[in-house]
């Protein structure tokens, strides 16, 4: 199968959906000729014109709000938010407006919009361009949240998001835009709420999102050298969450570590770990561990920034302890 970058995969997904459905359009800062700072949208304006690939002023609440209104009245906008950190600017439009219209109207209004943005540290971008804010969005009922872990997921999830009748937020990892993966030439969609078991194993389950899937896969390879057989699962969407696949795996392995790049406190890892504890407690041989980013603003210095996010080595260390029974009474 051909291999393309995550950036190309997103670009293809958008182009295919825009060809299929004339109501799909793109709105955001520097999306047209510039193709965004990450060049993900390069070439789309040449095919679809400036009426469907629309450069906006630097007005995040304004253009996200306009996407909500366009979606409520029959279009399918894809809003490009240049950095995930800017979600803080658009919280009212996303969480008070987009997320709640369907419910507040008793099911009469729908908001079929996609907000595509990014997450991830270790790009030396400092505290206002390095955050992973998926938990913030996932906390709000009415929003769906997708976290592609490769070019394959990025394309399939984007196409599903555009066809979904709800507001969907897709976080791509900034460091992965040039990562290549096999992506079929023929059309495919990845359904929401369907986790992917990346690697099967019997001793411990590593549940990881976005680029943390790579971290978990590296950890699993290292653990294999110790004779520890790790299963790696990528939920792909955290809202909706494929709880069944996660529970089945944990019931099989009896141990789990949940890895996500958002801050650890009150985060995605806490939510998943809690659900495993609630629904698989008697299958567990050890507490479910959480590994998120440190609870600090992301520092600029490479020497410091690298300390803040989960690493394969860190996962391996925790997994060894869990499998050796060292963390049952860790407190």
């Amino acid at each position: 199968m051909r291999e393309i970058t995550l950036s190309q995969a997103v670009n293809e997904a958008l182009a295919e959906e825009m060809r299929r459905d004339p109501s799909v359009f793109i709105l955001g800062e520097d999306v047209a000729e510039a193709g965004t700072p990450f060049k993900v949208l390069s070439g789309l304006v040449e095919e679809f014109g400036t009426d469907r690939v629309i450069d906006t002023p630097i007005s995040e609440p304004g253009f996200v709000g306009m996407a909500v209104g366009a979606a409520m009245t029959g279009a399918r906008p894809v809003v490009d938010l240049m950095f995930g950190d800017f979600i803080y600017l658009v919280m009212d439009q996303l969480c008070n407006q987009a997320a709640k219209q369907h419910y507040m109207s008793g099911g009469k209004l729908t908001v079929p919009m996609v907000l595509r943005t990014n997450l991830g540290a270790t790009r030396r971008s400092a505290a206002q361009h390095s955050q992973s804010l998926q938990a913030l969005v996932a906390h709000i009922p009415g929003l769906k949240v997708a976290l592609p872990s490769s070019a394959y997921e990025a394309k399939g999830l984007m196409k599903t998001a555009i066809r979904d009748n709800n507001p969907v937020v897709i976080f791509e990892d900034k460091l992965m835009y040039q990562d290549k993966a096999p992506v079929p030439e023929e059309e495919y969609l990845i359904p929401f709420g369907e986790a992917h078991t990346k690697r099967e194993g019997s001793d411990i389950t590593l549940i990881a999102t976005s680029s943390m899937v790579q971290v978990a896969e590296k950890a699993a390879e290292m653990l294999a050298g110790d004779g520890i057989d790790a299963e790696v699962i990528d939920p792909r969407t955290i809202v909706p969450l494929d709880e069944a696949t996660l529970l089945d795996s944990v019931k099989k392995t009896s141990r789990a570590i949940v890895i996500d790049e958002g801050h650890q406190s009150y985060g995605v890892t806490a939510e998943i770990a809690s659900r495993l504890n609630e629904k698989a407690f008697y299958h567990l041989d050890a507490p479910v561990l959480r590994m998120g980013a440190m609870d600090v603003p992301v520092p600029f210095s490479p020497a410091l920034e690298d300390l803040t996010v989960p690493t394969p080595e860190g996962v391996v260390e925790n997994a060894r302890k869990l499998c050796a029974g060292e963390m049952i009474h860790a407190a």
């Binding site: 009212d92 008070n96 109207s105």
Partner: protein, 325 residues
Amino acid sequence: MAKAKTNTEDYLRMYRQMVRIRTFEDNANQLYLSAKMPGLTHMYSGEEAVAVGICEALTDDDRITSTHRGHGHCVAKGAEFKEMFCELLGKAEGYCRGKGGSMHIADQSHGNLGANAIVGGSMGIATGSALRAKLMGKDDVTVCFFGDGATAQGLMYEVMNMAALWNLPVIYACENNGYSEYTKTEEIAAGSITARAEAFGIEAHTVDGQDVLAVNELTQKLVARARKGEGPFFMELMTYRYHGHHVGDINREYYRSKDEEKDWKDNRDPIIRFRAFLVSEGIATEAEIEAMNAEIEKNATEAVAYAEQAPYPPANEVDMHVYAD
């Protein structure tokens, strides 16, 4: 396209719609004061000529976005009493199945995109609706209702900038009732309100919001021009809210005098004024108007009684409509 409102039938319809709003609000206020209505609510009484003058210039294909003070817009855009009172009381037959209540009431079948409880929160939605119309080659116009208090929100300036850059068919309708919640707007707003729109090159008009014909005439013109791609436009409608910010805002002399309220009610009431016009022009007799008022009051009383008896939504609806299929 809505026809010009220049004949007897249109005048009577506009009068009727204004009285329907006032009657709805009087009944809603009573429901609240008698503790039959949950939550809180914000009365539109006094501002009827704004909603009616504007909405009578629109078709069902034209959209509006509304505010936390949204009952008047809802009635003016074509909603029925029964479903509205059911919504106010949280009943299953309400326009939003009891999930929106007073602050989110809307009848989408007539192009009402909803009341919005965030001050200034719908400005993006209205402008986005206009963007959709332009992109998809439709000729509908969207009117964004908001109060003078909302002009302090930054969102308005972001979307007016884009609406002007892209000539979007949106009309920003600022209902200037002089008060931002519990504070005189002149104490918290620098400069003139229309100048804010004009800074973006948006044509702005100030109109007497207590004169339904003046509001309607201006809106007719602006809607027609917006349909042709000459928008956006901005209207400042000088009006007054008879009640406090919300129904519980009773003792308000610390920010607004009773003399001022009396002056507006006695001398500038939009319904009294228009009624006098209808009689003096021979469009309706006092007796005919009294009969119309009585019929509307009867409709409201029946709708309230219906809503009070109507069932609440079943428990299984609590987690319905979080996500669309």
